[in-house]
Structure formats: C-alpha cells, structure tokens
C-alpha cells in the first residue's frame, strides 16, 4: 500500500491531520494549474480551496481513487474551468508579478538569473494566450493529460482538441518569436 493510500485510510479513520499531509505535496501544482487557467490569485485560491473541500468530502464518502494525485489535479482543472466559463471577459494579467516568487536577483549567478527570466518569460507568454489556447497548453504540457482526457474536460471532440492545440502551440511560438527576451532558446515547440 502506497503512502497516499495510507493517508486516505487515516483520513477516513478520523485522523484530521492526515488530510493535510496527503494534499500538501500537490498544492503547489494545483495552484499553478488554477492560476494559469484563471489568471487571478483570488480565483485560483478559490478553485483550489473548493477542490480541497470537495476532495475531503469524497474521501470521507468512500470514493476509491486509482491515482489521488491525478484525480485531484483534474478536479482543480475542472473547477477552474467552471469558473473561467463564468467569466464574461478575460482577465488581464496584472496579478502575474505578484504571483511569482520574488527573490533578490542581485545575489544570484548570471545563468540562474537568465534561466529564471527565461521561465518567467515563457510563463508570461502562456498567460497571454487566449483562454482556450492557454488551457489546452496547460492541460497537455503541464498536466500531462491525453488528448482524450482533455476532450472530456473541455467538452470538445478529440479532433477539435488536436486542431486547437496545434494552433495554440503556433500562437505561443509566434508570441515567443516576437519576443521580449534577449535569449531565444526555445526555438522549437513540438
């Protein structure tokens, strides 16, 4: 029995600390998923919080998980998509800077700074994509979901997902080429 399963059993037996131990390793990625979809700190927190509550209730109701981690990320994604569907307008990216880890870069080696800038630059481009493109990129590349799994989440046919994902990649590529960063390392996107 793996550790995750043990913690789930402990939760059901009334150990209230077990749930925190169970989900803590996944919170970082869950929040990243929610934020990259919603582009809002507050909404992302809401999505994750609701998912945490829902997870606990599912655990206590006896739900069986093949992979709790994957199920939890799918839940966060689903809740985030629910929220984004309610938004009539796309949110601006004003909260982006507040969300990243701000560290005094003057004490960092140059290559570390460059790498960080590179990551942030790409993140900025991803967040600049239109909703559906951004969501597909995140689901496919960050959550490692299959085309079929994505099609179920976003209510599109597998063919439509493939087409839109292809276009999303091209848009990201174009954005990157058009560019802000001096170092264009990412020249090729599969």
């Amino acid at each position: 029995m793996d550790h995750t399963q043990e913690l789930i059993i402990q939760c059901r037996s009334g150990d209230k600390q077990a749930f925190g131990q169970l989900v803590t390793p996944f919170i970082q990625k869950a929040y990243a998923i929610a934020f990259s979809i919603l582009k809002s700190k507050e909404s992302a927190e809401d999505a994750v919080q609701n998912s945490l509550l829902e997870s606990y209730k599912n655990i206590m109701a006896g739900k069986e998980f093949r992979s709790f981690q994957n199920w939890f990320f799918s839940l966060v994604t689903s809740r985030s998509l629910d929220m984004i569907r309610r938004y009539s307008k796309e949110r601006t990216n004003t909260e982006f800077i507040d969300t990243i880890d701000t560290v005094d870069q003057t004490s960092m080696p140059l290559d570390v700074i460059i790498e960080k800038e590179e990551k942030l630059g790409l993140l900025e481009k991803i967040l600049a994509l239109p909703n559906i493109d951004r969501v597909l990129i995140i689901l496919y590349y960050y959550q490692d979901l299959s085309i079929r799994e994505i099609s179920l989440l976003v209510n599109l046919t597998e063919g439509a997902v493939k087409t839109k994902l292809f276009r999303a990649r091209n848009k990201l590529h174009s954005l990157y080429k058009s560019n802000v960063l001096p170092f264009k390392k990412v020249g090729e996107i599969k």
Binding site: G14, F19, V23, Y31, A61, K190
Partner: protein, 395 residues
C-alpha cells in the same frame, strides 16, 4: 535537450502557492465538519432532503485555524457521541447497541432506524406536531413500524399528512417506546441539534423518565348540569408521556344518572385549534372516576380549553357540544403578586363560575389602611372589590 514540456513545467512551477492555502488544507477536515453541522441543522427542519451541494463562502474558507479548531470544539460538544459521515446519516454506538438515524435524501420522509434492539415488545412510535404547531394546524402524522427481516432492523417512518413536513425540528414531536430511549434521544438530539420536542419511553426505564406531573385544575369550572346530574372536570394531569384528564360524576340521590359513554373530549387552545389528535371517550376507572388519556400531548400552552361533546354515534365526532372548561397554568397556587419585605400579597386560589369569581388572597406584613381599598382588575379592565375580609393577627 529540454523538451517543450520541460520548459512549460519549469515555467509554471515558478507560480508559488500562497501559504494560506497550505494552512487551509490542514483545516479542511474541521471546516467540513462544521459545515456538515450547519447544513444538517438547516436541512433537518426543511426535510426537503434534497442533497444540497454546499457552497463555501470566502469567509468560511478564509477562517483561521484557530477559529476552525475553536468552532470544532464547540460543535463537538453539541454533537454528543455521534460521528457524522456525510451530513445525512448519523450513527452512534453505546453499550454495544447501534441506533441509526437517517434522513433519506431520496425519500421525503425522515426515518428513524434502530437495530440491536433486544426487546421488540411494546414498540410504538407516534409523531405529531408540537404544541406550537398544533395551534395553527390540527394535522398529525401517521406512523409505520416495520421490521426488516434480513437485518432485523426496525424502521420507523412517518409521514406528515398535510404534506409540508417542512420544519421537523421545530414542528414535530416524537414519542417513542423503545428499550433504550436515552440512547435514541441522544441520537435525535445530535440530529436535530437539541431542538424540537421529543420524549421517549422505554419499558425498562419508564419510571425514571417520568420526572414530573403537572396538574391543572380548571379556573373556570362550568359544571355540566344535565337535569339532575353534575359532571365535573377535576384536573388535567400532564406527564412527560401523556396527558390524563380526570372527570368525576356526581349523581344526586333519586335522580337519573347520565352516562359519559357517548361523551368525547378534546383539548383546544384559546383560538379553537385542536391540541389533541382527536376527540376521545373517557373510560371508567376503579375509583369511580373517568379518565381520558391523550398520549400525544406532553405539554400544553398556558391557557387551554377542554371541550366535551355528546354524540349518539361514538365513531363520529359530530354531536352536541355540551360543555367546555378553561384551564391555565395559574392553577398552581399560591402566587406571590407583590414582593416587598414589609408587605406581601399571595393569591391562594381563584375559583371562577359563570356568575362570580372568588379570589382568595393573603396579605402578610404590617397592617395598613390601604388594604381596605384593594381591588382586583381582570384583563378586560373589570374591577372588583373584596366582599369579605378576614384578619388573622399573628401573636
């Protein structure tokens, strides 16, 4: 060489989750428990029993851990020995017995289910609306007692006749005969948050549960004088399990006796709403007095009316209304009506007839000339002065 996936992973991993989320995660079990309690207490009265998908307002979600833990302690103290699984089903274990209290999300009716019951004799369940509700609605619930052959469970369900069933905890009143009423009461208290009126009588602990008997005597004793006979309502005894009305019949010698056999009795509030489930006939006891019992009544409002009707057909309630008696909680005299150390007035009794009201009261303390001018005023503003005074001077 890094792939696109690696770049995107690295990029999105730069997004840092706020610390509050980790704190929130640790508090989720406490919040869900609190939320369950809240939802349960809201759902129980409604008994719509539709599974309400809970929403979590930000103020709840952002509650600090300290508040969450504190609230948990408070809620735990209310829940008695009950563990909540999903807010709909509750189970308690005590002395190797289990009692399940279920409010089904699919059925409209609440169900009380008990297993591990050793003695099935004398089981009964009645459910009726509380005193308050009776004032506005005379409808009552029917009960069913079933035995599940496979699980040896007793399932008792009840249905509200008026179809509303909207406020179980406020409007319903349980009377249950089970061997372990305390345990069931604990469960119901947990389920309905100590609200509503419930009484439980088990064959083994019946005596211990009857803690107090309230006796009412009519403060307006209108005697039923049918020609040569007088029927008097002596008292109304309200116990924790039921209400008894004691009647006596006085026959003057040489005159024909009247019968109470075709007489039925019911209790009403002052607005005329029936408090008992139906009119009921009195039965003759060994002591020569008649008693009619209303097991569904274990509390009464401050003022209530007893009505008697006489009908030729005992199966019908249509008949000639023959008398009514008014009761109030003020029958338990003496009542202190003034409270200074120097002067104290105590009403010893009030006897009211159609033509007069006799109020006996006692004044203690320093004699005063003012006592000569004492008057009594009723609710309608009618004054009365004492017609007779007795002075007892303590030596």
């Amino acid at each position: 060489m890094k792939s696109t996936k690696d770049y995107i992973h690295n990029s999105l991993n730069e997004i840092k989750a706020p610390e509050s989320l980790y704190e929130f995660a640790n508090n989720v079990p406490y919040m869900v428990e609190i939320e369950d309690t809240k939802i349960l207490s809201e759902q129980s009265p409604s008994m719509n029993l539709q599974v309400k998908k809970p929403t979590y307002p930000n103020f709840i979600k952002r509650a600090s851990s300290a508040i969450a833990v504190l609230a948990l302690i408070v809620s735990s103290s209310l829940l008695l020995p009950i563990t909540s699984l999903n807010g709909v089903k509750k189970e308690a274990i005590k002395e190797d017995k289990k009692v399940h209290i279920e409010t089904s999300s699919e059925k409209q009716n609440p169900t009380v289910r008990s297993n591990e019951v050793s003695d099935s004799t004398g089981y009964s369940l009645s459910l009726h609306k509380s005193t308050k509700e009776k004032k506005t609605s005379p409808f009552y619930s029917h009960l069913q007692l079933k035995q599940d052959d496979k699980e040896q469970n007793f399932s008792m369900s009840f249905k509200d006749l008026d179809g509303t069933l909207n406020n179980l905890k406020r409007d319903m009143n349980f009377s249950l005969n089970i061997p372990d009423p305390i345990l069931l009461q604990n469960n119901l208290n947990g389920l309905f948050q100590n609200q509503g009126e419930r009484s439980f009588i088990g064959p083994n602990v019946h005596q211990s549960l009857v803690t107090e008997t309230k006796s009412y005597k009519p403060n307006k004793q209108t005697k039923w004088e049918n020609e040569n006979n007088i029927v008097t309502v002596e008292e109304v005894n309200i116990k924790s399990s039921h209400t008894d009305i004691v009647l006596s019949q006085k026959d003057e010698s040489g005159k024909e006796s009247i019968s109470l056999l075709n007489t039925k009795i019911a209790l009403f509030d002052l607005k005329g709403n029936m408090l008992s489930q139906d009119y009921k006939p009195p039965t003759l006891k060994d002591n020569g007095k008649f008693i009619v019992s209303f097991p569904e009544i274990n509390s009464l409002p401050d003022h209530f009316i007893l009505r008697m009707i006489q009908t030729e057909d005992s199966s019908k309630n249509i008949g000639q209304s023959i008398n009514q008696y008014q009761f109030s909680n003020h029958d338990s005299y003496p009542i202190d009506v003034s409270g200074t150390e120097e002067q104290k007035i105590t009403i010893q009794s009030v006897n009211e007839t159609d033509s007069s009201v006799k109020v006996t009261f006692e004044i203690t303390g320093n004699p005063s000339m003012q006592h000569q001018f004492i008057t009594i005023q009723d609710e309608k503003g009618v004054f009365a002065s004492p017609i007779q005074t007795k002075k007892n001077i303590q030596k």
